[in-house]
Subunit: 354 residues, 4 copies
Amino acid sequence: MNTFGNIFKLTSFGESHGTAIGGVIDGCPAGIVLDMEFVQGELDKRRPGQSELTTSRNESDKVEFLSGIYEGKTIGTPIGFIVWNNNQHSSDYDSLKNVFRPSHADYTYFQKYRHYDHRGGGRSSARETIARVVAGAIAKLILQKKGIKITAYVSQVGDICLSKSYIQVDFSNIEKTAVRCPDLEIAKQMIALIQSVRLRGDTVGGVITCICHGVPVGLGNPVFGKLSAALSNAMMSINATKGFDYGMGFNGIHRKGSEANDLYYRNKDGKIVTKSNYSGGIQGGISSGEDIYFRVAFKPVATLLQGQLTVDKDGNEIQLEVKGRHDPCVLPRAVPIVESMAAMTILDYYLYNY
Amino acid sequence: MNTFGNIFKLTSFGESHGTAIGGVIDGCPAGIVLDMEFVQGELDKRRPGQSELTTSRNESDKVEFLSGIYEGKTIGTPIGFIVWNNNQHSSDYDSLKNVFRPSHADYTYFQKYRHYDHRGGGRSSARETIARVVAGAIAKLILQKKGIKITAYVSQVGDICLSKSYIQVDFSNIEKTAVRCPDLEIAKQMIALIQSVRLRGDTVGGVITCICHGVPVGLGNPVFGKLSAALSNAMMSINATKGFDYGMGFNGIHRKGSEANDLYYRNKDGKIVTKSNYSGGIQGGISSGEDIYFRVAFKPVATLLQGQLTVDKDGNEIQLEVKGRHDPCVLPRAVPIVESMAAMTILDYYLYNY
Amino acid sequence: MNTFGNIFKLTSFGESHGTAIGGVIDGCPAGIVLDMEFVQGELDKRRPGQSELTTSRNESDKVEFLSGIYEGKTIGTPIGFIVWNNNQHSSDYDSLKNVFRPSHADYTYFQKYRHYDHRGGGRSSARETIARVVAGAIAKLILQKKGIKITAYVSQVGDICLSKSYIQVDFSNIEKTAVRCPDLEIAKQMIALIQSVRLRGDTVGGVITCICHGVPVGLGNPVFGKLSAALSNAMMSINATKGFDYGMGFNGIHRKGSEANDLYYRNKDGKIVTKSNYSGGIQGGISSGEDIYFRVAFKPVATLLQGQLTVDKDGNEIQLEVKGRHDPCVLPRAVPIVESMAAMTILDYYLYNY
Amino acid sequence: MNTFGNIFKLTSFGESHGTAIGGVIDGCPAGIVLDMEFVQGELDKRRPGQSELTTSRNESDKVEFLSGIYEGKTIGTPIGFIVWNNNQHSSDYDSLKNVFRPSHADYTYFQKYRHYDHRGGGRSSARETIARVVAGAIAKLILQKKGIKITAYVSQVGDICLSKSYIQVDFSNIEKTAVRCPDLEIAKQMIALIQSVRLRGDTVGGVITCICHGVPVGLGNPVFGKLSAALSNAMMSINATKGFDYGMGFNGIHRKGSEANDLYYRNKDGKIVTKSNYSGGIQGGISSGEDIYFRVAFKPVATLLQGQLTVDKDGNEIQLEVKGRHDPCVLPRAVPIVESMAAMTILDYYLYNY
């Protein structure tokens, strides 16, 4: 399905080689000043070809708002927006018309849809994320007014891992390198790895860490409305994701309960807080007021510039050589998408309560 | 919220110390023979006190169906069912009336609900899973008829890890030990660890692995209806979960793309299959026909039989001693819950297509 | 489907000849005092056999709450409730096992469900309304605290019509007669008509009028979330309904626009109000603060104590004689159901805003 | 809210004086040939200024598809479409910036939205129906392939009423006059009435009748998923509607049950059919296979070219004179909208079953 959210809802449309990508945001509160520069800036962050690490596609996507805004503010009606598709090299994909690319969605799509658009991955392509980032930017603007800040960064590429806690990391460094890792030493190593992988025509995966700061207590519902489940659903809807964990996550299994509890105490201001935050800001599915932090694992992207053996629709084996422009590592580009999905999810739950 | 699913929908109700736990299943196809023994058997699997590993609560929950069934078959109308609450020791919890148990949902619930039921964790308690297991059992019955089999087992407890691929594991061993690990050697080590942790009044977490075999190709939708996102949402809705990954998951980050692609070929029967299954049976959010396998991480349970420092509603520090009956490790009991959530999710997507 | 509402949600279950009828209410705010007498009283109002007009079924339905309530107040968790089925004469229906009753749902159900429960109409029976009335009673309690009052009454039976505006009617008279018409003269005529129809073994239909007083301005959304559409959907979900209109409705067609506009003016208290209320309290799909009033048309009930020619499942013509206990006119019994559906709808929209 | 449907879903956006009107259709099956001429033709039918009866606004709306279509067929992905707004006279509305037009949505909108777009009624304007008609056209194309035909016509204007049953009416006459009434004699009278009303600067309402032919048995669900409830919800979502009834509707109250039952018999082909169709093709909320027929009542449009007394935002009384271009009767233009809503509803339920 193509709609995300319950109250703040994004319905997206558009194939990467169709006429336009776009979306409709329903449930956006009225009276929000729309900072167009900020929205366009977020969209620019996701573009490939913005650094030496990524491909040269150099898409300059300008978002156009068609409704829902009057005199610079939202009016509470659905916000329709589009980004025209240009600069898409359809011919790069012509050799792929009848071929199933390994680990791509082609085979599953063919089985499902029969008549489908083979060009550029149709709706499984990363260009579909444009709509997410536009809606996410608007969500961020609204959350910022409530003192809620969403920050994501690359914390692992292949075997290169930033193992420090987010508390010890300087967020202002994130945008200083193309790889969006806030530890400049580790960032260098990551860049070197990506370059070498690229030269070999291979790809590499990694992990993005995200922190949601200032989320008030009480968002989420026990049982089936857990905020942790909603965040995992949001992250796992991003292309190329393979895993999600929050708080101590998969690594926390090595701790005993006595080593992993967040003990309550009353602080200097008389407020009830916890000494630690192993839970990652969510207890029993409901936000606790502490920082929410989680990780998203991304697989190595499946388009290789190496040759690969595969089959076409009739089952004949063929050697696949893909020309064109592809990424050795999607992690840096995925950072704004993770932030967008987090912003939309948090806002959706926020509006449910307030 | 308290409803799970889009077509095969479970709405659950009931607090652990209220009158009854129950649910309503809507969207169950008509004409399914309801194997009552099987359903009751699944419910028995989740019971504590069934082995030396778990607590002595010894709840014998008998499910009672109130509607939706006629002459032993489903009739397509909503299936209402209840399990009466007995054998709940309310007095065990009386010392907790005004106290926030560390890493429990108490504090977040108090902030959210004001007037809430402190006894036994209300709806955040594991007893709420009764409804999930009943609905999951019915879902399994329906899937079995379509040749779809769901199997889960404990693959990690603390540092003890069953690292073999599921392909090399013998499922018939799962129920042979209390810890539900199919490798009997590893199972022994797990049991020893749990016993020692229990004696110290501490708790330990772990990982459950789940395989969905025989899922046809085409379930799921790209963008926001990905089957991977739905499964993660379902698993993360279970109490005490901290993470989800599928296919090569978090561990796959160490592979390059060239080492992680599932290459297509035509097999002896002329069918198009893959040589490997790093994707875990889901490509681009849609099932590929291969086995779907995923992991769910559980944190160490938060109720300790050790004393702990905490605060009460007025912020006064108090020493918490919890009497009663608690689990050092919830993993074995969570296995039928993971299977239930998987069955309901797969069935929901199955009914969407067929 | 078996769920009604978006925020205040009722999921109902139960066949009239099954074990129990019941429901789960999700989204009920916490802290509401549950006036059990009031709820049981509303349920008693819908019972047949409470007057000389209706049949002698004499069902005494006692509602039992299973969850969601602690120390007499709602706790914000789902409220599960049941009413056990007794006093249902299954044998009255044995002659109907393979026969399609004219204008009943039998034929359509058979075509749809294959294996279905023929006894007493299964889920198409009026007993399914028990769940609606319980949830409606709770909704009324919540609305009353906000100064919102829902009142319905019978305004037409066959050709006997109460044509006065609701403004000129005395609501305290509604419960004074079995027919629930607030004009005692007209009520007498209605009763006489129903008696004569009953003696002939025939049935008659009518109209119920409903007023929602004190609904604040702003409930509803333009386009697809119109409060008028929601109310019509709610009313048309009641068995035997054939039509809905509000404000001047179908009769207003005879007016010109100049005769039908509600002109604004500022009243003595300085508040902006309208001189008239042809719109029926809803403008552009949003409540205006004025009384919402609407009508629901009910067809004559389809079970006749006269013989009727029909066919069985094999298409053979047979003469249908129905024994048992049936109503010549369902209008009086439908009054609490109309109020319940109105209360649930208004509350659902109220909670969306506040 | 701005989304209609459960499976075949339309999300619409756009204010009449904004940049564009548009929508996204999700859930459209793949492989449907999109007859662009037919879609544009349906859109042309709703335009004002196409006859001497309506206003001279002369909007020529051309729909543009942005996604979801490849080589002329739908591909199963969301279909995004827009219609650019031009030819909207903003200045006609400048006198209205702070004034509440009687029986318009202005007052309720102001109360609800604070900051809203006063020009042309924003989203409460009839231009929003563009999206409905585009989606409805596509729905009709799909239904036609299944042998399902939707036909609507004007059956009443003011006191002029076409009282014949739809069975005796010649549908080929509908488009022969501007008023879209299939009885040419009655049509003349209706046109005369509308002209005279227009000269007086007044407005008049009426009724549209709609027939859905060829709907298979089994669409709809008892309880809350009744097809009759869904149709009423769809119709009542149209601007200016005041009532809905189907089958014998409000007029059927005058019949006794014995005079209103549809008796079953086996016809020459051995098929089980009914002798009559008082039920209007829906029994117990489920389609019976017979023609579904219903009526929708429209109030006289609220914009008058006569002066009217009203208040502005500060409560000061002012005399309202509206310049511009307005309709004395919206009924003819509403015919394609009624058909669109019926088509979308029937298709939604059809896809649920098949």
